[in-house]
Symmetry: C3
Subunit: 341 residues, 3 copies
């Protein structure tokens, strides 16, 4: 069971050129190396052209710039402006159709509170727990071993993977994907030191966490609720695995944060910022719209980093050019001192 | 249902000054921006004074130094030496009362071994598993999806959040809070290389983990058991999310460790140390009483870092002043070399 | 119930010298400080010799080089070429025997799909979920709260600890140990930016994850599946806690990776490499056979680091000698500038 390339193009756009016949059994996507006769592949330039043609793939997604080279292709071609993007959309189209065959409904071993609301076509996996007043949107899938706290609301068409823990009151938008083991809405790291005894007392962590539409959160990442107000993850933002987001952080739309990065409390990350892996931000940092922060960078408490498309790197983070100059200067200095000896 | 400010003061201390009436319906705490008519707020100085007075809050916790400015306040005031601390305690008082209304007891879907002991007023959430000879103290709450291993003992009034995993034999004191997804008592990272084959064989990881009273552990943090003896987390210590503590580590009392920091095997961290986020300590490091380690610092294997209140920063960590001088020197060097060209 | 030292030697090798009698009740291993009369201890040199002799231990594992010093020992001795390795093997022998007494089989609260295959002598803990077409090898133990996805295959004699999540299609070899909370086979961090809207669309993450024989994975670590092809963790490799491995990464055999290290997509790590804690590798990095990367090092995207036994350190990682020279040069520079003032 599959689709013709034209059916796929009808859904994702692009121009189809027929090759030998027009098989209607495309059921997957694959790398050029591993493609089988029911798979689509993609190329972005001439480099992989001949490998793609020699592969077993049923069809190739390619840029219009290769129209001439592909004019005599024995394979059917889908021409698109952004072939990799079209490939991603084709994969989604094919996969989604397949998912409709999956088992739906509430597994008998799931514990669903009588005051929880489960949307139409939603599924709750084995041993998951849905607490009172939680709301699960239409067609959202909850895997196994998941805990959804009191009053949590999740939009439609979401996917919550195994063993995720969502604290009470957290709100997730539509089409949100949460990978296994992630923790959403945990208490922030806030204490008040009792000057008399030197002990720490817990500052209230009773705010909430809002995750907007189309966000994806990586495995075992943790996002704290606000202390008194809200932590917010904006629409379309993507977090990798093992990322930490502290209390009261405001992350904008279409932000990308790579693995193991930590964002301390009350930071503001504006739209379209790109943050590498293992980056650390101190409290109350602002990262401006479209800023690019290199991996392992560190930004000191309270700093503001701005510049759309500007790249910052290092600890403390500075403009890439300056960072590279300093690295080169240090290397020269060490060499010249070694020669003097 | 709530409390009068005087009832709260009776529990947490401080001097109440009545404003317009004395409502007995304070049921929460909030930020000044979001406070409703049943909420308490706090101020520490003049800066937020007028905002607090204009807020909808039922009352304000304030320092005595503002007594004059607040003498004509239309709102009731609770004067305290440390307003933020009083606010934290007020929040705890109000919340604890509310928690007493929560469902108690063992959920029917929980698996509790017949040889486990469950204390008076303790609760075990859905799908949690309590293995043989485990002991859960009075009024301790275990959320859902939690695994408590064979022979684990947990003190009274603790809170174990969803999907926490506790390995056999681990001991937790009273009033310990463990956030979702944390792993306690896992095997340490210890192997012996077989010189003949180049393969690694597991060194026994059969020690235990002791977590003392009033400790809080963040979401998805991991603390390994001792290899042969014990890993210990001292009383009142607080760990943020995604922190790693290796085998045989000894952490003292009232230590604070921020997110994503990693402490290698056999380190000693003495009382009241403050360790920033993403810090890394090599094996067998000692961090002295009251030392402050800046975020992203690294300390090499075997080093001893001492000085109460002294700040260390960088990789390898050095006194803050020296670290700043080196950063400035490098910046100047790079500039001067650029000018020479 | 225990073993004589000779019975243990028969299994792990070495030469036994009798002391006072030959007790046949050795049932554990311990540190010298905590050893009881049924425990074995080990020494590697003269340093701990007298402490070991004065301990309560039933026997001592020691190197042949101490044969003379131990000739009059009142305790029985097991002489071996690598005493620590022998100690590890003795611990394993004693422990494994004990484990055979543990409860086997499928716990009644586990959900095992009718199309899953459970091997002879395997055990499935409470509230674990085994999805369709999964295969669990002989004598493999699955703890509680574990999710094993559709079509996952796990070899024999493995140990999967509590709350582990394994995504569909992942393959694990024999004798694999996965610690609590780890996530295997999650989606990689791959998106395609739609240039028109600035939004990110998910690139297909439909490859698989293969973990070969004798691998151990630490608590709360995350390993992503390949995007289109496979992520591979080679035989005998050991990962510590909170490690992140991105999509398409190829890790060789007998590699050691310490806690909180992150390996970005498509990296290649060759056999016997040793990687410290909190290291970060950019995309498409190659770490050659036997390379040693110091803790907190960073390697830039696309770089190749080679040299068996060579130590690299710093960000960006450079040969240790050069790194130390640069640190020293910077320190001298800062001092000389301070003196000039």
């Amino acid at each position: 069971m599959g689709y013709s390339l034209q059916e796929i193009a009808n859904n994702i756009g692009g121009r189809v050129v027929r090759g030998e016949g027009d098989p209607s059994d495309i059921s997957g996507v694959a790398s050029i190396a591993s493609a089988g006769p029911h798979d689509l592949v993609f190329i972005e330039d001439e480099k992989m052209l001949s490998a793609a043609l020699q592969s077993k793939a049923a069809g190739i997604i390619a840029p219009e710039s290769l129209a001439e080279e592909l004019s005599k292709s024995p394979k059917q071609i889908l021409f698109c402006a952004q072939p990799k993007l079209a490939f991603a959309r084709a994969a989604k189209f094919v996969t989604e159709q397949r998912m409709q065959d999956q088992q739906l409904g509430v597994h008998p071993s799931a514990i669903v509170h009588q005051d929880a609301k489960i949307g139409l076509g939603a599924s709750i996996g084995p041993h998951s727990v849905i607490h009172a007043r939680a709301e699960i949107g239409a067609r959202t899938r909850i895997a196994s071993g998941v805990t959804i706290g009191v009053g949590v609301s999740i939009g439609k068409e979401g996917m919550i993977h195994a063993n995720v823990s969502i604290y009470p009151g957290t709100r997730l938008g539509d089409r949100v994907i949460i990978h296994a083991g992630a923790v959403l809405g945990s208490d922030g790291f806030g204490y008040v030191r009792d000057n008399a005894s030197g002990t720490y007392e817990k500052f209230p962590q009773i705010g909430r966490l809002e995750i907007h539409d189309d966000v994806e959160i990586g495995a075992n990442s943790t996002i704290d609720r606000g202390a008194l107000d809200a932590t917010v993850i904006g629409r379309g933002t993507k977090l990798d695995n093992l990322v930490h987001i502290g209390h009261n952080v405001q992350v904008g739309e279409n932000v990308v944060i790579a693995a193991q990065t930590g964002i301390s409390g009350s930071c503001v990350i504006e739209d379209a910022a790109i943050i590498g892996g293992q980056v650390g931000l101190g409290d109350h940092v602002t990262i401006g719209t479209g800023v690019i922060l290199g991996s392992k960078s560190g930004v000191l408490t309270g700093k503001i980093v701005r510049g759309k498309g500007e790249v910052y790197w290092g600890v403390p983070a500075r403009p890439l050019k300056q960072h590279l100059k300093e690295l080169a200067a240090l290397s020269r200095l060490a060499k010249s001192q070694a020669e003097e000896k």
